[in-house]
């Protein structure tokens, strides 16, 4: 009796293993029409992809599992790992701890990587058959003026999220984050560059200033804000805004859509002082071991149906005309992702700053956040 019992229990124990294995054979949404259009010459090789977490369609609830579909199509094995910030990605890359084949950094980080000779130069327009899907306005951007290093993947902007039941007048300025009336209900980025960007826009200095006095000005503004804050947050912003724990928070437009889905009382605005716009692009590191497979992968990511699956999962704006022009794309008319009049919003890209400025503002940030 006892033996049978232990046997049953042992079987139960194997449960997670069983469904871990079961997942190998799960139904993929196939990209059958692509069958045969991709070379299988590289079958058996490995591709190391390093991407932001939750920044690709992973087959949740019947959607496309992008990396698995790519593996099936090309026979290339994909090692997929994730990072949480450009800086972490940069450190891993720089430490020579690992070699990646595809990375997806943001604009300013691409500028830095290029300036340090860390990206592979290639010709996307000639080498990637799907490159023509990239919207012209996202080509020749400042960090890659000749389109030699990067292929745009997602576009986003920072904006102000507020809870309409708690904030009486619809704000139109970053100044709302300094409003005494909402003391204890204001959130701020737990990340130096984004937080400084807001303070800089508010005090009217350049986001990419190398003048230390400008950073001091913004730092003073941030210090002044600290007593009004509920917290410096990143992922916590979702729970806090969804459940009405906080009234105001800056975050990315695409993520606001996720929050609004759960809490319809939330609203979003691009403040008049100006906001940060970013482009995350696919690149190949200079020390990539499988650059050919990397190009294949990037091209695959540009396939309209793959890009659509990603755009629907991630909820950020897509620079892929194969997505924005697709009638099935549910976010095509979204006023936050694709504002009718983009020129009415003052947008600024982050630029890569020199090491001494970087160190200067990072130290300021530590002082602000550790002080009382």
């Amino acid at each position: 009796m006892k033996k049978t019992l232990s046997l049953c229990l042992a079987a139960l124990l194997l449960l997670p293993l069983v469904f871990a294995l079961a997942s190998c054979n799960k139904a993929l949404v196939d990209v059958e029409n692509l069958e045969g259009t991709y070379t299988r010459d590289l079958a058996g090789t490995t591709l190391n992809v390093y991407n932001w977490a939750e920044y690709i369609s992973e087959g949740a609830e019947g959607t496309l599992y992008v990396t698995k579909a790519f593996e099936k199509l090309t026979g290339i094995e994909v090692n997929y790992s994730t990072y949480e910030s450009n800086e972490v990605m940069y450190s891993k890359l720089k430490s020579d701890a690992v070699s990646y084949d595809v990375i997806i950094p943001s604009d300013y980080m691409i500028e830095r990587l290029i300036s340090e000779g860390m990206l592979l130069s290639f010709d996307p327009a000639a080498e990637l058959s799907n490159y023509h899907y990239i919207d012209e306005q996202y080509k020749n951007l400042y960090f890659d003026a000749e389109n030699k290093y990067s292929v745009p993947y997602n576009v986003g902007m920072v904006g102000l999220i507020y809870n309409t039941t708690m904030v009486k007048e619809a704000p139109d300025s970053w100044g709302a984050l300094w409003d005494e009336a909402y003391k204890g209900k204001i959130l701020m980025f737990n990340n130096s560059r984004d937080s400084f960007g807001i303070a800089q826009a508010l005090v009217g200095v350049d986001l990419n200033s190398t003048d230390k006095a400008d950073w001091d000005k913004a730092a003073a503004k941030l210090t002044e804000q600290k007593t009004l804050l509920q917290g410096y947050v990143m992922d916590e912003v979702f729970n806090k805004m969804e459940d009405g724990n906080a009234a105001l928070a800056p975050y990315y437009a695409g993520d606001f859509l996720t929050m609004q889905e759960i809490n319809p009382d939330l609203a979003f605005v691009y403040p008049k002082e100006g906001v940060n716009i970013f482009v995350d692009s696919m690149c190949i590191p200079a020390n990539a071991r499988n650059a050919e497979a990397a190009k294949l992968f990037i091209n695959f990511m540009l396939e309209p149906e793959v890009a659509l699956a990603n755009a629907e999962t991630i909820c950020y704006a897509s620079p892929n005309t194969g997505v924005t022009g697709n009638p099935e794309y549910s976010l095509a008319d979204n006023e936050y992702l694709y504002p009718k009049d983009l020129s009415a919003i003052k947008t600024t890209y982050f630029r890569d700053l020199d090491p001494s400025t970087r160190k200067y503002y990072e130290d300021l940030w530590v002082t602000i956040t550790t002080g009382n």
């Binding site: 459940d243 090491p355 530590v366 550790t370």
Partner: protein, 350 residues
């Protein structure tokens, strides 16, 4: 089984055997080798990085006129990669137009000895973080002791079967992911969280909990309480029942029994528990970040952010220096705590 783990730090192991055979030496060899390479050397690496600076240099290689050139140039603030290429070509005496660059990148390596990293550890921000870490972990350790002591006593006096089941119940949460449990605590303590919803139902509150120092300490206590309970329970369960009965017979009241008998006998367990809670508390970074809404930065948070951005301003070296200081603080604290234990094996620990 857990008693052994928890009893780890203080009451470690004294030796009795008299002779050492060759066989015993051979048996020790693999682990000695392993620990030398993977325990001792890494610690030396921390020391090395803490006292050295990171310097950048351009690594450039090119071919010109059928010859290969490899060149290293120190990275100055105003020298760009293109500038470095020009310089490299000039140094080799070839014109830039003739050179075909096969590689050009900015690299980093460890440079000379410096005390600058330690100086940065002494900055006001990191001093403050260290002081806070010390105070919070002290508070968390004290609170854990106050909770764990009566609990462990009650546990050690319950029936054998109940003891075994209760041990499992205490351990079970420890086996779940710390990140997920902390995430869950946030929901409980939020302004509109579980507790405040319950308070509102009773017509009370709301109380601000998440984001306070209390929340951070609670997070520490929650995560490390079992490490306090288990060693105390282990020593208490070894106390001979006949001793307690003798005390009863001699007319001791419960306070005397506690003060003169149980407490002295449980000191080794208490010391173990103190260390096992204090060490992870003082170095934590995830708990403080999540439970304080990012408003309280402890030394673990600083180390983490430095290491994350390791090439900005020598983050790796400063991070190593902070780790080193933290290690020294912990060693001193455990050494002091061990002095209070008369367990003769205890001295070996530090």
């Amino acid at each position: 089984m857990t008693g052994a783990k928890a009893g780890a730090s203080a009451s470690v192991l004294t030796e009795k055997k008299e002779k050492t055979s060759l066989g015993a030496k051979l048996l020790n060899a693999p682990y000695l080798l392993w620990s030398a390479v993977f325990i001792v050397v890494p610690i030396l690496m921390v020391v090395f990085y803490a006292f050295s600076e990171t310097v950048g240099y351009y690594e450039i290689s090119f071919t010109a006129g059928g010859r290969e050139y490899v060149c290293e140039l120190p990275a100055a603030e105003d020298l760009t990669l293109e500038g470095a290429k020009e310089q490299a070509a000039a140094q080799a005496g070839v014109s830039l137009a003739d050179a075909t660059f096969t590689h050009a990148s900015l690299e980093y390596r460890s440079g000379g000895f410096t005390l600058a990293n330690l100086k940065e550890v002494w900055s006001p921000a990191s001093r403050r973080a260290m002081l806070l870490s010390f105070l919070y972990s002290l508070a968390a350790t004290a609170i854990s002791l106050v909770i764990a002591y009566p609990f462990a006593y009650a546990l050690s006096r319950s029936g054998a079967k109940s003891q075994r089941i209760q041990m499992l119940l205490i351990m079970l949460p420890m086996w779940m992911n710390m990140l997920v449990r902390t995430y869950s605590w946030q929901q409980i303590l939020e302004n509109n969280g579980v507790i405040n919803k319950a308070l509102a139902f009773l017509g009370l509150g709301p109380a601000t909990m998440l984001g306070t120092s209390g929340a951070v300490i609670l997070g520490m206590v929650y995560n490390y309480l079992p490490y306090m309970i288990l060693p105390i329970y282990t020593v208490m369960s070894k106390i001979d029942v006949s001793l307690l009965e003798a005390a009863d017979d001699l007319g001791c009241n419960w306070l005397q029994k506690l003060w003169r008998l149980i407490l002295p006998l449980s000191v080794p367990g208490i010391i173990s528990g103190l260390i096992m809670v204090f060490v992870p508390s003082i170095s934590t970074f995830y708990i403080s970040q999540k439970m304080s809404n990012g408003m309280i930065k402890l030394v673990g948070d600083l180390i983490e952010s430095k290491i994350k951005d390791q090439w900005a301003g020598g983050g790796l070296n400063v991070g190593a220096a902070m780790s080193l200081v933290l290690m020294v603080i912990i060693l001193v604290c455990t050494f002091v705590m061990n002095r209070f234990s008369d367990d003769d094996g205890g001295g070996m620990v530090v």
